[in-house]
Protein backbone atom coordinates (compact mmCIF):
# COMPACT_ATOMS: atom_id res chain seq x y z
CA UNK A 1 0.00 0.00 0.00
CA UNK A 2 1.12 3.54 -0.68
CA UNK A 3 1.59 5.67 2.40
CA UNK A 4 1.91 9.35 3.22
CA UNK A 5 4.84 11.05 4.96
CA UNK A 6 2.66 11.52 8.03
CA UNK A 7 1.91 7.79 8.10
CA UNK A 8 5.54 6.83 7.60
CA UNK A 9 6.58 9.03 10.53
CA UNK A 10 3.77 7.87 12.83
CA UNK A 11 4.61 4.20 12.19
CA UNK A 12 8.36 4.76 12.61
CA UNK A 13 7.90 6.68 15.88
CA UNK A 14 5.54 4.03 17.25
CA UNK A 15 8.36 1.46 16.95
CA UNK A 16 10.44 3.44 19.48
CA UNK A 17 7.72 3.60 22.13
CA UNK A 18 8.23 1.16 25.01
CA UNK A 19 5.55 -0.78 26.85
CA UNK A 20 4.80 0.58 30.33
CA UNK A 21 6.24 4.04 29.80
CA UNK A 22 4.44 7.34 29.54
CA UNK A 23 4.47 10.01 26.83
CA UNK A 24 3.52 13.69 26.78
CA UNK A 25 1.98 15.53 23.83
CA UNK A 26 1.03 19.21 24.00
CA UNK A 27 -2.34 20.40 22.77
CA UNK A 28 -0.73 22.12 19.81
CA UNK A 29 -1.76 24.99 17.58
CA UNK A 30 -2.83 24.62 13.94
CA UNK A 31 -1.76 23.44 10.51
CA UNK A 32 1.63 21.82 9.86
CA UNK A 33 2.94 22.65 13.33
CA UNK A 34 0.00 20.73 14.79
CA UNK A 35 0.70 17.68 12.63
CA UNK A 36 4.30 17.49 13.86
CA UNK A 37 3.75 18.40 17.50
CA UNK A 38 0.47 16.57 18.12
CA UNK A 39 -1.01 14.61 15.19
CA UNK A 40 1.90 12.28 14.46
CA UNK A 41 2.71 11.57 18.15
CA UNK A 42 -0.99 10.85 18.81
CA UNK A 43 -1.25 8.28 16.02
CA UNK A 44 2.15 6.76 16.90
CA UNK A 45 1.00 6.42 20.50
CA UNK A 46 -2.23 4.58 19.69
CA UNK A 47 -0.49 2.36 17.16
CA UNK A 48 2.10 1.41 19.78
CA UNK A 49 -0.66 0.61 22.28
CA UNK A 50 -2.42 -1.63 19.76
CA UNK A 51 0.70 -3.41 18.49
CA UNK A 52 3.34 -3.83 21.18
CA UNK A 53 2.89 -1.43 24.12
CA UNK A 54 -0.56 -2.03 25.68
CA UNK A 55 0.53 -0.41 28.95
CA UNK A 56 1.87 2.77 27.38
CA UNK A 57 0.07 5.87 28.69
CA UNK A 58 -0.24 9.20 26.96
CA UNK A 59 -0.90 12.63 28.39
CA UNK A 60 -2.33 15.45 26.25
CA UNK A 61 -1.89 18.56 28.36
CA UNK A 62 -4.48 18.16 31.13
CA UNK A 63 -6.08 15.08 29.50
CA UNK A 64 -4.41 12.02 30.99
CA UNK A 65 -4.83 8.57 29.41
CA UNK A 66 -7.64 9.42 26.95
CA UNK A 67 -9.56 6.87 24.89
CA UNK A 68 -7.66 7.03 21.60
CA UNK A 69 -9.87 5.19 19.11
CA UNK A 70 -11.40 7.26 16.33
CA UNK A 71 -14.96 7.33 17.69
CA UNK A 72 -13.76 8.90 20.95
CA UNK A 73 -11.56 11.63 19.47
CA UNK A 74 -13.25 15.02 19.87
CA UNK A 75 -14.65 16.85 16.84
CA UNK A 76 -12.37 19.84 17.48
CA UNK A 77 -9.49 20.62 19.81
CA UNK A 78 -11.35 23.71 21.02
CA UNK A 79 -11.90 23.96 24.74
CA UNK A 80 -15.50 22.69 25.18
CA UNK A 81 -14.78 19.57 23.09
CA UNK A 82 -11.36 18.95 24.62
CA UNK A 83 -12.81 19.00 28.14
CA UNK A 84 -15.29 16.27 27.18
CA UNK A 85 -12.75 13.91 25.57
CA UNK A 86 -13.26 10.55 27.35
CA UNK A 87 -10.21 9.91 29.51
CA UNK A 88 -9.21 8.25 32.76
CA UNK A 89 -8.09 11.44 34.51
CA UNK A 90 -7.89 15.18 34.06
CA UNK A 91 -5.10 16.88 35.95
CA UNK A 92 -3.80 20.40 36.39
CA UNK A 93 -0.71 21.56 34.51
CA UNK A 94 1.05 21.87 37.88
CA UNK A 95 0.44 18.14 38.42
CA UNK A 96 1.43 17.27 34.88
CA UNK A 97 4.72 19.09 35.33
CA UNK A 98 5.26 17.35 38.68
CA UNK A 99 5.04 14.03 36.81
CA UNK A 100 8.03 15.31 34.81
CA UNK A 101 9.86 16.51 37.92
CA UNK A 102 9.33 13.19 39.67
CA UNK A 103 11.04 11.41 36.78
CA UNK A 104 7.90 9.54 35.70
CA UNK A 105 7.78 10.89 32.14
CA UNK A 106 9.19 8.56 29.50
CA UNK A 107 8.90 10.49 26.24
CA UNK A 108 8.43 14.22 25.71
CA UNK A 109 7.33 14.88 22.14
CA UNK A 110 8.70 18.23 20.99
CA UNK A 111 8.96 20.41 17.92
CA UNK A 112 10.70 23.73 17.45
CA UNK A 113 11.69 26.46 15.02
CA UNK A 114 15.36 25.48 15.33
CA UNK A 115 17.27 22.41 16.48
CA UNK A 116 21.04 22.25 16.50
CA UNK A 117 23.79 19.68 16.06
CA UNK A 118 23.72 18.91 19.83
CA UNK A 119 19.94 18.64 20.05
CA UNK A 120 19.31 22.00 21.70
CA UNK A 121 15.93 23.35 20.58
CA UNK A 122 14.53 26.86 20.18
CA UNK A 123 11.00 28.25 19.94
CA UNK A 124 11.78 31.70 21.37
CA UNK A 125 13.53 33.86 18.80
CA UNK A 126 15.65 34.04 15.66
CA UNK A 127 18.64 36.34 16.12
CA UNK A 128 19.75 37.91 19.39
CA UNK A 129 17.46 37.41 22.39
CA UNK A 130 17.42 41.06 23.42
CA UNK A 131 16.98 42.38 19.90
CA UNK A 132 15.44 39.50 17.94
CA UNK A 133 15.14 39.42 14.17
CA UNK A 134 12.01 37.29 14.53
CA UNK A 135 10.26 36.89 17.83
CA UNK A 136 8.54 33.48 18.25
CA UNK A 137 5.81 32.53 20.75
CA UNK A 138 7.96 31.35 23.69
CA UNK A 139 9.31 28.19 25.34
CA UNK A 140 6.00 26.70 26.61
CA UNK A 141 6.90 23.52 28.55
CA UNK A 142 9.87 22.69 26.33
CA UNK A 143 12.48 23.43 29.04
CA UNK A 144 10.51 21.13 31.38
CA UNK A 145 10.52 18.28 28.84
CA UNK A 146 14.21 18.67 28.18
CA UNK A 147 15.16 18.81 31.86
CA UNK A 148 13.11 15.87 33.09
CA UNK A 149 11.79 13.47 30.42
CA UNK A 150 13.72 10.21 30.07
CA UNK A 151 13.82 10.77 26.29
CA UNK A 152 12.84 13.66 24.04
CA UNK A 153 11.57 12.82 20.54
CA UNK A 154 11.80 15.83 18.21
CA UNK A 155 9.67 16.01 15.07
CA UNK A 156 11.04 18.65 12.73
CA UNK A 157 10.90 20.10 9.30
CA UNK A 158 14.13 19.24 7.46
CA UNK A 159 15.77 22.39 6.08
CA UNK A 160 18.81 24.58 6.76
CA UNK A 161 16.74 27.20 8.62
CA UNK A 162 15.52 24.56 11.08
CA UNK A 163 18.58 22.30 11.45
CA UNK A 164 21.31 24.75 12.45
CA UNK A 165 24.83 24.42 13.93
CA UNK A 166 23.85 26.44 17.01
CA UNK A 167 20.38 27.58 18.07
CA UNK A 168 19.86 31.30 18.74
CA UNK A 169 18.17 30.57 22.07
CA UNK A 170 18.16 27.33 24.08
CA UNK A 171 14.59 26.62 25.14
CA UNK A 172 15.31 22.89 25.41
CA UNK A 173 18.67 21.60 26.58
CA UNK A 174 20.23 19.03 24.27
CA UNK A 175 22.84 16.40 25.03
CA UNK A 176 26.10 18.32 25.35
CA UNK A 177 25.66 19.97 28.71
CA UNK A 178 23.27 18.31 31.14
CA UNK A 179 25.03 18.52 34.51
CA UNK A 180 22.45 18.45 37.30
CA UNK A 181 19.53 17.47 35.08
CA UNK A 182 17.87 14.11 35.72
CA UNK A 183 16.31 13.63 32.28
CA UNK A 184 17.96 11.60 29.55
CA UNK A 185 18.07 14.30 26.86
CA UNK A 186 17.09 14.10 23.24
CA UNK A 187 16.96 10.62 21.69
CA UNK A 188 15.69 11.02 18.13
CA UNK A 189 14.94 13.63 15.51
CA UNK A 190 12.30 12.64 12.95
CA UNK A 191 12.08 14.81 9.83
CA UNK A 192 10.52 14.89 6.37
CA UNK A 193 13.67 13.23 5.01
CA UNK A 194 15.24 11.05 7.67
CA UNK A 195 15.58 9.76 11.21
CA UNK A 196 18.53 10.98 13.28
CA UNK A 197 19.90 9.99 16.67
CA UNK A 198 22.95 11.23 18.63
CA UNK A 199 26.47 9.83 18.84
CA UNK A 200 27.10 9.28 22.58
CA UNK A 201 30.85 9.94 22.09
CA UNK A 202 30.49 13.34 20.41
CA UNK A 203 26.90 14.26 21.47
CA UNK A 204 26.33 15.34 17.85
CA UNK A 205 23.41 14.45 15.63
CA UNK A 206 23.91 11.36 13.49
CA UNK A 207 21.98 10.03 10.53
CA UNK A 208 20.15 6.82 11.43
CA UNK A 209 17.90 6.09 8.45
CA UNK A 210 16.85 7.71 5.19
CA UNK A 211 13.18 7.72 4.25
CA UNK A 212 12.38 5.62 1.15
CA UNK A 213 12.61 7.80 -1.97
CA UNK A 214 14.90 10.37 -0.32
CA UNK A 215 18.62 10.68 -0.95
CA UNK A 216 21.71 11.31 1.15
CA UNK A 217 22.48 14.31 -1.06
CA UNK A 218 19.09 15.84 -0.28
CA UNK A 219 19.69 15.35 3.44
CA UNK A 220 23.16 16.92 3.37
CA UNK A 221 21.93 19.87 1.32
CA UNK A 222 19.07 20.53 3.71
CA UNK A 223 21.04 20.26 6.96
CA UNK A 224 22.65 23.47 8.24
CA UNK A 225 25.55 21.67 9.94
CA UNK A 226 27.83 18.72 9.41
CA UNK A 227 25.70 15.71 10.19
CA UNK A 228 27.54 12.57 11.33
CA UNK A 229 27.00 9.98 8.64
CA UNK A 230 27.86 6.34 9.38
CA UNK A 231 29.28 4.22 6.59
CA UNK A 232 26.08 2.29 6.03
CA UNK A 233 22.75 4.03 6.48
CA UNK A 234 19.60 1.94 6.01
CA UNK A 235 16.28 3.18 4.68
CA UNK A 236 13.55 3.92 7.21
CA UNK A 237 11.44 0.77 7.35
CA UNK A 238 8.32 1.40 5.22
CA UNK A 239 4.92 1.21 6.88
CA UNK A 240 3.35 -2.21 6.42
CA UNK A 241 -0.25 -2.96 5.46
CA UNK A 242 -1.29 -3.94 8.98
CA UNK A 243 -0.14 -0.59 10.41
CA UNK A 244 -1.72 1.41 7.59
CA UNK A 245 -4.98 -0.52 7.99
CA UNK A 246 -5.07 0.29 11.72
CA UNK A 247 -4.33 3.97 11.13
CA UNK A 248 -6.90 4.36 8.34
CA UNK A 249 -9.75 2.40 9.89
CA UNK A 250 -9.35 2.42 13.65
CA UNK A 251 -7.10 5.30 14.68
CA UNK A 252 -7.46 8.22 12.28
CA UNK A 253 -10.00 7.57 9.49
CA UNK A 254 -11.08 11.22 9.21
CA UNK A 255 -7.51 12.60 9.38
CA UNK A 256 -8.17 14.59 12.52
CA UNK A 257 -4.60 13.92 13.59
CA UNK A 258 -2.48 13.39 10.51
CA UNK A 259 -3.99 16.24 8.49
CA UNK A 260 -4.91 18.45 11.48
CA UNK A 261 -8.64 18.27 10.65
CA UNK A 262 -9.37 18.52 14.38
CA UNK A 263 -7.98 22.08 14.42
CA UNK A 264 -10.29 23.21 11.58
CA UNK A 265 -7.12 24.52 9.87
CA UNK A 266 -6.19 21.34 7.94
CA UNK A 267 -2.77 20.87 6.38
CA UNK A 268 -0.45 18.24 4.98
CA UNK A 269 3.32 17.74 5.24
CA UNK A 270 3.74 16.18 1.81
CA UNK A 271 1.45 14.31 -0.56
CA UNK A 272 3.33 11.04 -1.02
CA UNK A 273 6.73 9.75 -0.03
Amino acid sequence: MKYTLEELLAVEISRHIKDGEMGFVGVGTGGEAFIRAVGIPAVASRLAQLCHAPNYTIMFGPILDPVLDAESIPETNFEPDLIRWPCRSQITVEEALCIFKRGKMGIGFASGAQIDAYGNMNIVCVGEYKNPKVRLPGPLAQPDHAAHAKRVFAIQKHDCRTLVEKVDYISATGNQNREGLAGGGIAFVFTDLAVMDFNPDTDRMRLRSIHPGKTLKQIIENTGFELEIPEKVPFTQPSDDRDLELIRTRIDPSKKWLNAEITKEPATLEKNV
Binding site: T29, G30, G31, F34, G61, P62, F78, E79, P80, L82, I83, R84, Q90, I91, T92, V93, E94, L97, F100, K101, V124, Y129, K130, N131, P132, K133, V134, R135, P137, G138, P139, L140, A141, Q142, P143, D144, A146, A147, H148, Y169, I170, S171, A172, T173, N177, R178, E179, G180, L181, A182, T263, K264, E265
Partner: protein, 302 residues
Protein backbone atom coordinates in the same frame (compact mmCIF):
# COMPACT_ATOMS: atom_id res chain seq x y z
CA UNK B 1 -29.30 44.57 61.36
CA UNK B 2 -26.00 45.89 60.09
CA UNK B 3 -25.42 44.89 56.42
CA UNK B 4 -22.31 43.06 55.25
CA UNK B 5 -20.21 44.80 52.63
CA UNK B 6 -20.79 43.92 49.00
CA UNK B 7 -17.74 43.63 46.72
CA UNK B 8 -19.78 44.09 43.56
CA UNK B 9 -18.32 46.90 41.48
CA UNK B 10 -18.89 48.48 38.13
CA UNK B 11 -16.33 47.56 35.49
CA UNK B 12 -14.87 51.09 35.43
CA UNK B 13 -14.57 51.32 39.21
CA UNK B 14 -13.00 47.88 39.54
CA UNK B 15 -10.29 48.60 36.97
CA UNK B 16 -9.63 52.04 38.46
CA UNK B 17 -8.06 50.09 41.35
CA UNK B 18 -5.12 49.47 38.99
CA UNK B 19 -2.46 52.22 38.93
CA UNK B 20 0.08 53.05 36.24
CA UNK B 21 3.25 51.04 36.85
CA UNK B 22 1.43 48.20 38.63
CA UNK B 23 2.36 44.56 38.29
CA UNK B 24 -0.74 42.83 36.95
CA UNK B 25 -1.21 39.04 36.89
CA UNK B 26 -3.70 37.67 34.36
CA UNK B 27 -5.59 34.36 34.54
CA UNK B 28 -6.52 32.00 31.73
CA UNK B 29 -4.21 30.31 29.24
CA UNK B 30 -3.65 30.49 25.49
CA UNK B 31 -6.96 31.94 24.29
CA UNK B 32 -8.99 30.28 27.03
CA UNK B 33 -10.74 32.11 29.85
CA UNK B 34 -8.54 35.19 29.98
CA UNK B 35 -10.61 37.99 31.57
CA UNK B 36 -10.86 39.85 28.25
CA UNK B 37 -13.51 42.37 29.34
CA UNK B 38 -11.29 43.42 32.26
CA UNK B 39 -8.31 43.52 29.88
CA UNK B 40 -10.13 45.80 27.41
CA UNK B 41 -11.12 48.13 30.26
CA UNK B 42 -7.45 48.41 31.31
CA UNK B 43 -6.64 49.43 27.74
CA UNK B 44 -9.66 51.78 27.61
CA UNK B 45 -8.49 53.55 30.78
CA UNK B 46 -5.07 53.88 29.09
CA UNK B 47 -3.04 52.45 31.94
CA UNK B 48 0.69 52.77 31.32
CA UNK B 49 4.00 51.12 32.28
CA UNK B 50 2.39 47.90 33.48
CA UNK B 51 4.32 44.69 34.14
CA UNK B 52 2.30 41.60 33.20
CA UNK B 53 2.56 38.11 34.68
CA UNK B 54 0.87 34.97 33.38
CA UNK B 55 1.92 31.38 32.75
CA UNK B 56 0.50 31.12 29.22
CA UNK B 57 -0.66 34.29 27.49
CA UNK B 58 -2.69 35.01 24.37
CA UNK B 59 -4.89 37.80 23.10
CA UNK B 60 -4.87 39.35 26.61
CA UNK B 61 -1.16 40.21 26.44
CA UNK B 62 -1.28 41.04 22.76
CA UNK B 63 -4.09 43.56 23.19
CA UNK B 64 -2.49 45.31 26.18
CA UNK B 65 0.90 45.40 24.44
CA UNK B 66 -0.72 46.73 21.25
CA UNK B 67 -2.52 49.42 23.26
CA UNK B 68 0.77 50.67 24.72
CA UNK B 69 -0.04 49.72 28.33
CA UNK B 70 2.96 47.45 28.91
CA UNK B 71 6.66 47.95 29.65
CA UNK B 72 7.51 44.39 30.71
CA UNK B 73 5.79 41.00 30.45
CA UNK B 74 6.57 37.48 31.66
CA UNK B 75 5.15 34.23 30.31
CA UNK B 76 5.94 30.86 28.75
CA UNK B 77 3.99 31.75 25.60
CA UNK B 78 2.35 34.62 23.83
CA UNK B 79 0.38 33.65 20.74
CA UNK B 80 -3.09 33.33 19.34
CA UNK B 81 -3.22 29.51 19.37
CA UNK B 82 -4.65 28.40 16.00
CA UNK B 83 -4.89 31.99 14.82
CA UNK B 84 -1.11 32.14 14.70
CA UNK B 85 1.36 34.72 15.96
CA UNK B 86 0.45 37.50 18.37
CA UNK B 87 1.56 40.34 16.10
CA UNK B 88 1.53 43.26 18.55
CA UNK B 89 3.66 41.23 20.96
CA UNK B 90 5.98 40.26 18.15
CA UNK B 91 6.44 43.81 16.83
CA UNK B 92 6.99 45.45 20.21
CA UNK B 93 9.40 42.80 21.47
CA UNK B 94 11.36 42.92 18.20
CA UNK B 95 11.58 46.72 18.46
CA UNK B 96 12.55 46.45 22.18
CA UNK B 97 9.61 48.62 23.26
CA UNK B 98 8.55 45.82 25.60
CA UNK B 99 10.90 43.65 27.65
CA UNK B 100 9.64 40.08 27.50
CA UNK B 101 10.96 37.53 29.99
CA UNK B 102 10.56 33.94 28.81
CA UNK B 103 10.24 31.21 31.37
CA UNK B 104 9.00 27.64 31.21
CA UNK B 105 5.48 26.71 32.25
CA UNK B 106 6.68 25.06 35.45
CA UNK B 107 8.85 28.05 36.41
CA UNK B 108 5.93 30.44 35.96
CA UNK B 109 3.73 28.22 38.08
CA UNK B 110 6.47 27.81 40.69
CA UNK B 111 6.66 31.60 41.03
CA UNK B 112 2.89 31.98 41.47
CA UNK B 113 2.74 29.02 43.86
CA UNK B 114 5.55 30.39 46.01
CA UNK B 115 3.67 33.66 46.53
CA UNK B 116 0.37 31.84 47.09
CA UNK B 117 2.09 29.71 49.74
CA UNK B 118 3.46 32.78 51.47
CA UNK B 119 7.06 32.21 50.38
CA UNK B 120 9.46 34.76 48.90
CA UNK B 121 11.20 32.44 46.44
CA UNK B 122 11.23 28.98 44.91
CA UNK B 123 13.80 26.72 43.26
CA UNK B 124 13.96 24.82 39.99
CA UNK B 125 16.42 22.81 37.93
CA UNK B 126 14.59 23.57 34.71
CA UNK B 127 16.44 26.79 33.79
CA UNK B 128 19.88 25.09 34.08
CA UNK B 129 21.77 25.22 30.77
CA UNK B 130 18.90 27.02 29.00
CA UNK B 131 18.93 30.61 27.73
CA UNK B 132 16.46 31.50 30.50
CA UNK B 133 19.64 32.04 32.52
CA UNK B 134 20.58 35.00 30.30
CA UNK B 135 18.07 37.04 32.30
CA UNK B 136 19.50 38.50 35.55
CA UNK B 137 16.46 37.12 37.39
CA UNK B 138 17.64 33.54 36.80
CA UNK B 139 21.29 33.85 37.72
CA UNK B 140 21.37 32.88 41.36
CA UNK B 141 22.24 29.23 41.79
CA UNK B 142 21.88 27.66 45.21
CA UNK B 143 22.69 24.27 46.65
CA UNK B 144 20.25 22.04 48.46
CA UNK B 145 21.55 21.98 52.08
CA UNK B 146 20.62 18.29 52.35
CA UNK B 147 21.76 16.76 49.04
CA UNK B 148 24.04 19.38 47.51
CA UNK B 149 22.01 19.44 44.28
CA UNK B 150 22.14 22.69 42.33
CA UNK B 151 18.99 24.74 41.74
CA UNK B 152 18.19 28.11 40.22
CA UNK B 153 16.53 30.34 42.83
CA UNK B 154 13.58 32.36 41.48
CA UNK B 155 11.83 35.20 43.26
CA UNK B 156 8.10 34.70 43.86
CA UNK B 157 5.77 36.82 41.76
CA UNK B 158 4.30 39.65 43.81
CA UNK B 159 1.57 41.13 41.62
CA UNK B 160 -0.20 44.26 42.82
CA UNK B 161 -3.40 43.09 41.20
CA UNK B 162 -4.64 39.82 39.70
CA UNK B 163 -7.48 39.75 37.19
CA UNK B 164 -9.34 36.51 36.52
CA UNK B 165 -12.62 35.31 35.00
CA UNK B 166 -14.89 32.83 36.80
CA UNK B 167 -18.31 31.26 36.34
CA UNK B 168 -20.21 32.77 39.23
CA UNK B 169 -19.86 34.44 42.61
CA UNK B 170 -22.00 35.93 45.30
CA UNK B 171 -21.81 39.63 46.13
CA UNK B 172 -19.35 38.93 48.95
CA UNK B 173 -16.75 37.45 46.61
CA UNK B 174 -17.14 33.69 47.04
CA UNK B 175 -16.04 32.60 43.59
CA UNK B 176 -17.10 29.36 41.90
CA UNK B 177 -16.34 27.38 38.78
CA UNK B 178 -18.30 24.39 37.53
CA UNK B 179 -16.45 21.15 38.27
CA UNK B 180 -16.24 20.24 34.57
CA UNK B 181 -13.72 22.81 33.41
CA UNK B 182 -10.36 23.16 31.72
CA UNK B 183 -7.86 21.93 34.30
CA UNK B 184 -5.13 23.99 32.62
CA UNK B 185 -6.76 27.04 34.15
CA UNK B 186 -6.61 25.82 37.75
CA UNK B 187 -3.55 28.04 37.95
CA UNK B 188 -6.01 30.95 38.22
CA UNK B 189 -6.38 29.99 41.88
CA UNK B 190 -2.63 30.33 42.52
CA UNK B 191 -2.55 33.54 40.47
CA UNK B 192 -5.32 35.05 42.59
CA UNK B 193 -3.71 33.95 45.84
CA UNK B 194 -0.36 35.47 44.82
CA UNK B 195 -1.72 39.01 44.42
CA UNK B 196 -2.28 41.90 46.83
CA UNK B 197 -5.66 42.66 45.25
CA UNK B 198 -7.94 40.49 43.11
CA UNK B 199 -10.53 41.63 40.59
CA UNK B 200 -12.76 38.85 39.32
CA UNK B 201 -15.30 39.02 36.51
CA UNK B 202 -18.06 36.41 36.55
CA UNK B 203 -20.68 35.21 34.10
CA UNK B 204 -23.30 35.69 36.78
CA UNK B 205 -23.64 37.04 40.29
CA UNK B 206 -25.80 34.61 42.24
CA UNK B 207 -27.51 34.66 45.59
CA UNK B 208 -25.42 33.54 48.53
CA UNK B 209 -27.79 30.59 49.00
CA UNK B 210 -26.66 29.16 45.63
CA UNK B 211 -23.08 29.26 46.88
CA UNK B 212 -24.02 27.71 50.21
CA UNK B 213 -25.72 24.83 48.37
CA UNK B 214 -22.51 24.03 46.45
CA UNK B 215 -19.65 24.99 48.79
CA UNK B 216 -17.12 22.62 47.17
CA UNK B 217 -17.38 24.67 43.95
CA UNK B 218 -15.95 27.69 45.79
CA UNK B 219 -12.35 27.54 44.60
CA UNK B 220 -11.66 31.08 45.80
CA UNK B 221 -13.37 32.11 49.02
CA UNK B 222 -14.11 35.75 49.70
CA UNK B 223 -11.02 36.69 51.72
CA UNK B 224 -8.97 36.68 48.51
CA UNK B 225 -11.35 38.86 46.51
CA UNK B 226 -11.54 42.67 46.36
CA UNK B 227 -13.96 43.27 43.50
CA UNK B 228 -16.60 41.24 41.68
CA UNK B 229 -17.90 42.44 38.31
CA UNK B 230 -20.80 40.74 36.55
CA UNK B 231 -19.85 40.42 32.88
CA UNK B 232 -21.66 37.75 30.86
CA UNK B 233 -19.33 36.50 28.08
CA UNK B 234 -16.59 38.28 30.01
CA UNK B 235 -13.91 36.06 28.44
CA UNK B 236 -15.09 36.74 24.87
CA UNK B 237 -13.52 36.28 22.32
CA UNK B 238 -11.71 33.69 24.47
CA UNK B 239 -13.54 30.47 25.35
CA UNK B 240 -14.83 29.77 28.83
CA UNK B 241 -14.57 26.07 29.73
CA UNK B 242 -17.69 24.19 28.61
CA UNK B 243 -19.83 27.34 28.83
CA UNK B 244 -18.88 28.88 25.49
CA UNK B 245 -16.40 28.32 22.73
CA UNK B 246 -14.03 30.96 21.47
CA UNK B 247 -15.48 33.18 18.81
CA UNK B 248 -13.84 31.97 15.59
CA UNK B 249 -15.16 34.93 13.66
CA UNK B 250 -13.78 37.47 16.12
CA UNK B 251 -10.51 35.55 16.36
CA UNK B 252 -10.02 35.85 12.61
CA UNK B 253 -11.03 39.50 12.73
CA UNK B 254 -8.52 40.16 15.51
CA UNK B 255 -5.81 38.41 13.51
CA UNK B 256 -6.60 40.61 10.52
CA UNK B 257 -6.69 43.86 12.53
CA UNK B 258 -3.43 43.07 14.31
CA UNK B 259 -1.35 42.66 11.15
CA UNK B 260 -0.15 46.30 11.25
CA UNK B 261 -0.06 48.98 13.99
CA UNK B 262 -2.34 51.20 11.88
CA UNK B 263 -4.98 48.50 11.54
CA UNK B 264 -4.71 47.65 15.21
CA UNK B 265 -5.37 51.27 16.12
CA UNK B 266 -8.67 50.89 14.29
CA UNK B 267 -9.46 47.75 16.30
CA UNK B 268 -8.82 49.64 19.53
CA UNK B 269 -10.90 52.60 18.41
CA UNK B 270 -13.81 50.35 17.54
CA UNK B 271 -13.80 47.61 20.19
CA UNK B 272 -12.00 49.29 23.13
CA UNK B 273 -12.05 53.12 23.17
CA UNK B 274 -15.37 53.17 21.33
CA UNK B 275 -17.05 51.07 24.02
CA UNK B 276 -17.36 53.11 27.22
CA UNK B 277 -19.88 50.60 28.57
CA UNK B 278 -19.56 46.81 28.43
CA UNK B 279 -22.95 46.59 26.68
CA UNK B 280 -21.48 48.65 23.82
CA UNK B 281 -18.93 45.89 23.19
CA UNK B 282 -21.52 43.13 23.41
CA UNK B 283 -23.73 45.01 20.94
CA UNK B 284 -20.81 45.49 18.54
CA UNK B 285 -20.29 41.73 18.66
CA UNK B 286 -23.93 41.17 17.76
CA UNK B 287 -25.44 41.30 21.23
CA UNK B 288 -26.14 38.50 23.70
CA UNK B 289 -28.45 36.75 21.24
CA UNK B 290 -25.77 36.43 18.56
CA UNK B 291 -23.17 35.45 21.13
CA UNK B 292 -25.39 32.63 22.35
CA UNK B 293 -24.40 30.76 19.17
CA UNK B 294 -21.01 30.07 20.77
CA UNK B 295 -22.69 28.87 23.98
CA UNK B 296 -22.31 25.19 24.66
CA UNK B 297 -23.56 24.74 28.19
CA UNK B 298 -25.35 26.44 31.07
CA UNK B 299 -24.30 27.29 34.59
CA UNK B 300 -26.81 24.82 36.01
CA UNK B 301 -25.75 21.76 37.99
CA UNK B 302 -25.40 18.64 35.83
Amino acid sequence: MIQRTSKVKKLKDAISMIADGDKVAIGGSLIRRAPMALVREIARQRKRELTLYSWSAGMDYDLLIGAGCVKEAWSSYCGLFQFGMAMNFRRKVESEEVRFVDLSESCAKDKFRAAAFGQTFCVSKVPLHTSMMENPEFQSIIECPFTGEKYVAMEAYHPDVAIIHAHRADQYGNVQWKPIRMMDNECDILIAKSAKKVIVSVEKIVDESVIINNPTWTMLPKMYINAVVELPYGAHPNSCDTLYDFDLEHGRLYREYSQTPEKFKKYLEKYVYGCPEYEDYLNLCGGIETLSKISRDTLEVE
